[in-house]
């Protein structure tokens, strides 16, 4: 029932109330007039009476103006409260309307809640990873500095860092981190953790103070005074159960006792490396002048007023100086500065925004469906609205009321959506690979709730405005007469067609993205990793610090030889080998290789991954030897120094030549004695970083011929690889552990995982991205299909009469089905064409996430279009079949 009160308010204001200005004029004039009469009654003539009255009144203009001002203020206050009163009424009325149509309300709320919930969940991830500021004061002044090569950016040498620090004037601090896996213990079981050996200025640079104790000072960066340690919040809770009296206790790090002096707060994770503690780096003068070996992570804080550009310019100049002063090590390299955001978040930013875009597409489709529902309801309510219009409600007023109803609907959906988002965030964090920075900090906080509400209100306007305008523009007369059944049906058909076109085009764009990622996944699953993962397991084993530096290398060699023998001899093991770094695993470093005949300078060096291996490594890993031979028992210390190169390295170093017998300088020696290594074999390329990573040059050398420094490079840590005779890698994990423990029970064995698992992990991010976009694509497709279904179902109901006439005139059910199908399919095809065009543009954003397929792959586009058309056809045919239930006689009577 329309409420009559609604009309009365509307009527009373503009017609009955004069403007404030007129009222004041009339009232004051009346007053003066009455005075005039009063004076005349006392015997004055009219002119004198009037003059006296006016004089008595005083400054009538000033009084008039004062009254107008107050009157207008009052008018505005009243309008505001009137508006609020109407709003409250509209909201209450909206609730009642929704309660009266529970089926409509449930479907609309669920559809919208799905859209708002999904959007909110993804937004919360975007907020956590990209938008939330870093927890450091003036974090935008923090910059990472990398060594820049033509092939990419890398770590920094101690010498470079030292010289940058001394020469640059752009930074208030320029700190260095050296990350290392170390074994720590408090006397009981040892634990393997990530350590950061750092310069003292990293703490003031990040501007965070310890939650207990103190941080170390620059004096403690001196060798000998550096046995102090600052714990991360995580390690403090894990190893010390968060004890307040931890200060002064001792923690043994790699065999050396350190005194705990402080604990940093939880949010201190300066390079997103999740290290467990910070200890002072203590470099000797010799190390500080050493420009080779690039393993430092450098972060600086720009001085006030210094821009990134000017700092970069200064560093370019310093790099130029260093390359002339130290051509051996620094020629051909530069410096690259990157903001904290660039360095830590990098291209996750784009990827997340792409997902956010995709989820907004789903929301748009959901809005389309709700708009559709509202259109149908608007038709049903045409009579009620016509009555309102008839008793004086303006068109704007009706639109406002209908929009308020939409907003009420959207806000209810937002509440349900927030609950869905809360659940979705948990699923998201659980499913996401841990490598995505800051994602674990995703939560439903106030910015996210505000976003959800804003999205809901915006959606209400998107889905509510067109139906509201439509509903308010009905033809009064016919609506009152016929209940608005057919008079405006054709105009509505057009709006509905446009909705279908929009939904289909958005759905196709989503599907194209999802399709491309599916193609990528297929491609990745077919990529040959270059070695046989079947039954293969790898485990890291770290030796303790050497007891005698003179025999450190041979001691380590012997220790690993014993471990290898023990593993090989155990039952169930088909083969085993030792390497400094297995594919898909930790520990790989790279060296510059210079082929014989070329000037030994960094510009001629080919950056290649070094693998120190035990004899028979390639055969055991089943990496094909393309030419020459594997590293074997002939390669001994003091014998001919040999190396096996990968095909990529062979191609880069000796294009179109036989690499066997060629000599290479690398890793050690001096210009007068380059300690040549002779190539004895070429191995097939291996996807070391997993199928998503490009192949890079690699080389293999026998462990026993490794340069003396190499044991330090690898931190006295090696990888044991072993293959299970049964083909089940997990069955030999305990065997490998037990073998190592039987040689030395104090040796930590960690990072034990089968190669199949590692291969899986290496594609975890790609898969996560795939799962997200495919599920969004599927939801989008389903929602679009539901939208098409409801439009067709509505057409069938609306056109019972027309269908009846056609059937009475001799049309068969099949004829009418064909007609309905064609009419339903037309906007779908239109939408598909538009969608394909949009997809060509939108999928370019996915480029960085695609493997083995271009962003506008025609096969994928064709496939998703066919899927979309088939699903749409289904959504048309099912409701259209109801046509056959139309009985011409009843249809005509009705």
């Amino acid at each position: 029932m329309p409420r009559l009160g609604f009309g009365r308010r509307q009527l009373s204001s503009p017609i009955w109330r004069a403007s404030v200005e007129d009222e004041v004029d009339a009232e004051l004039a009346f007053h003066v007039e009455m005075r005039v009469r009063e004076y005349m009654a006392h015997g004055m003539d009219e002119a004198t009476a009037r003059a006296t009255a006016v004089a008595r009144f005083g400054d009538i203009r000033k009084v008039n103006a004062e009254c107008r001002t107050i009157g207008n203020q009052r008018e505005r206050t009243m309008e505001r409260s009137e508006y609020l009163r109407e709003l409250v009424l509209d909201i209450r009325f909206g609730f009642r309307q929704l309660l009266k149509a529970p089926a409509f309300t449930a479907i609309a709320v669920l559809t919208l809640a799905l859209g708002v919930g999904a959007t909110t969940a993804i937004f919360s991830a975007v907020e956590a990873v990209v938008l939330r500021p870093f927890p450091y004061p003036a974090a935008d002044r923090l910059v990472f500095a990398f060594t820049h090569y033509t092939f990419g950016d890398g770590g920094v040498s101690i010498g470079d860092w030292n010289d940058w620090r001394r020469r640059s004037k752009s930074f208030s601090q320029l700190g260095a981190f050296q990350f290392r896996g170390v074994t720590v213990s408090t006397g009981e079981t040892p634990d393997r953790v990530t350590a950061a050996f750092a310069s003292a200025d990293i703490f003031p640079m990040y501007g965070l103070t310890p939650q207990i104790g103190r941080v170390f000072t620059a004096e403690e960066n001196q060798p000998g005074r550096d046995a102090v340690i600052v714990l991360s919040d995580g390690l403090w809770r894990r190893m010390f159960a968060g004890a307040r009296d931890v200060l002064g206790r001792t923690l043994t790090v790699a065999g050396r006792p350190y005194t705990i002096i402080g604990v940093m707060p939880r949010e201190f994770d300066p390079t997103d490396s999740h290290e467990d503690f910070w200890a002072p780096s203590a470099y000797s003068p010799g190390q500080l002048a050493f420009h080779d070996e690039h393993f430092l992570t450098i972060v600086g804080r720009l001085k006030p007023g210094v821009t990134m550009t000017s700092a970069q310019r200064e560093m370019d100049e310093i790099a130029r100086q260093l390359s002339t002063e130290f051509p051996q090590t620094n020629k051909g390299s530069g410096v690259r500065l990157r903001s904290l955001t660039q360095a830590i978040i990098g291209d996750y930013r784009l990827r997340l925004f792409v997902v956010l875009g995709a989820v907004l597409c789903v929301l748009l489709i959901a809005c389309g469906n709700v708009a559709n529902l509202l259109l149908a309801r608007g038709a049903a309510r045409a009579k009620e609205l016509a009555v309102r219009a008839a008793i004086g409600a303006g068109r704007g007023r009706i639109i406002r009321q209908l929009l308020t109803e939409s907003v009420v609907l959207a806000l209810i959906s937002a509440l349900v959506g927030l609950a869905l988002a809360w659940a979705a965030i948990h699923v998201l964090i659980g499913a996401a690979p841990p490598t995505i920075p800051r994602l674990a900090a995703t939560r439903l906080d106030w910015p996210v709730v505000a976003f959800a509400l804003a999205v809901a209100v915006a959606s209400a306007i998107v889905f509510g405005l067109v139906p509201a305008i439509r509903a308010s523009s009905g033809d009064l007369q016919s609506a009152l007469r016929e209940g608005g059944r057919s008079a405006i049906a054709s105009a509505r058909d057009r709006v509905r067609s446009i909705l279908v076109i929009a939904e289909v085009s958005v759905a196709l764009t989503l599907l194209a993205g999802a399709g491309l990622l599916i193609r990528s996944a297929f491609y990745l699953s077919r990529v040959d990793p270059g070695f046989d993962v079947k039954g293969l397991i790898s485990a890291r084993v770290a030796l303790g610090p050497p007891s005698d530096t003179a025999t450190a290398a041979s001691d380590a060699e012997q220790a690993f030889a014993r471990i290898l023998n023990e593993v090989k001899g155990r039952p169930g093991i088909a083969g085993a080998a030792i390497t400094s770094a297995a594919p898909l695993g930790a520990g790989s470093g790279s060296n510059g290789l210079v082929p014989e005949g070329k000037e030994p300078s960094p510009t001629n060096a080919i950056d290649s991954r070094l693998r120190m291996v035990s004899p028979g490594y390639l055969r055991m890993m089943r990496i094909p030897v393309v030419r020459g031979r594997d590293i074997d028992e002939r390669d001994v210390r003091g014998g001919l120094r040999v190396m096996v190169v990968s095909e990529a390295l062979a191609k880069a170093a000796w294009p179109n030549q036989d690499p066997i017998g060629k000599r290479v300088a690398c890793c050690e020696g001096a210009p007068d004695d380059p300690r040549w290594k002779t190539v004895v074999g070429v191995a097939a390329d291996v996807h070391t970083g997993g199928p998503t990573q490009d192949i890079r040059p690699e080389f293999y050398i026998p462990i026993v011929q490794a340069p003396a420094d190499a044991w330090r490079w690898v931190n006295r840590t090696m990888t044991v690889v072993a293959r299970a005779a049964s083909g089940d890698a997990s069955s030999i994990a305990p065997t490998v552990r037990a073998s190592v423990k039987s040689i030395d029970p104090s040796l930590p064995v960690y990072g034990v995982a089968s190669m199949t698992e590692r291969l899986d992990q290496s594609m975890a991010e790609a898969r996560f991205h795939l799962e997200l976009l495919v599920s969004l694509g599927a939801v989008g497709l389903l929602l679009a299909a539901a939208g098409i279904y409801s439009v067709i179902a509505y057409f069938v109901t609306l056109r019972r009469h027309e269908i009846g006439v056609r059937m009475a005139l001799g049309a068969s059910v099949a004829d009418i089905m064909r007609l309905m199908t064609w009419q339903g399919l037309r906007p779908v095809i239109g939408g598909a064409v538009l969608g394909a065009l949009a997809a060509v543009w939108a999928t370019r954003l996915l480029r960085g996430s695609l493997y083995g397929v271009t962003s506008s792959d025609p096969a994928t586009f064709a496939a998703v279009t066919i899927v979309l058309l088939l699903v749409s056809l289904l959504a048309i045919v099912i409701p259209a079949r109801r046509v056959s239930a139309v009985d011409p006689t009843t249809a005509l009577h009705g």
Partner: protein, 112 residues
Amino acid sequence: MPSTESKDRLHGTLDALVLKTLSWGPRHGYAVARWLEETTGNAIQVEEGSLYPALYRMERKGWIEAEWGMSELGRKAKFYKLTARGRKQLQSETSEWAAFARAVSSVLSPSG
């Protein structure tokens, strides 16, 4: 609010007088002025320059409300009438005034 109002004793007094006048029934502005003049034997000459802004101010505060009607002489006039809130305001103004008057008279004419 009443305390800040009472600071402006002049406004407050005029407001109280107008409210009191209207407590006998609806009147237009001129009638309010005349009634005050007559009742006080012209001791209080209400200035139109203060009366009308006061009426508008009180209308805005919701103490009085206005309606257009026919005056006794057959002309359209704006009639003011006391609201419930205005009645309450009148009570508090009256008692405040009484307290004020007692205080002043205790100074000016000490008992005896």
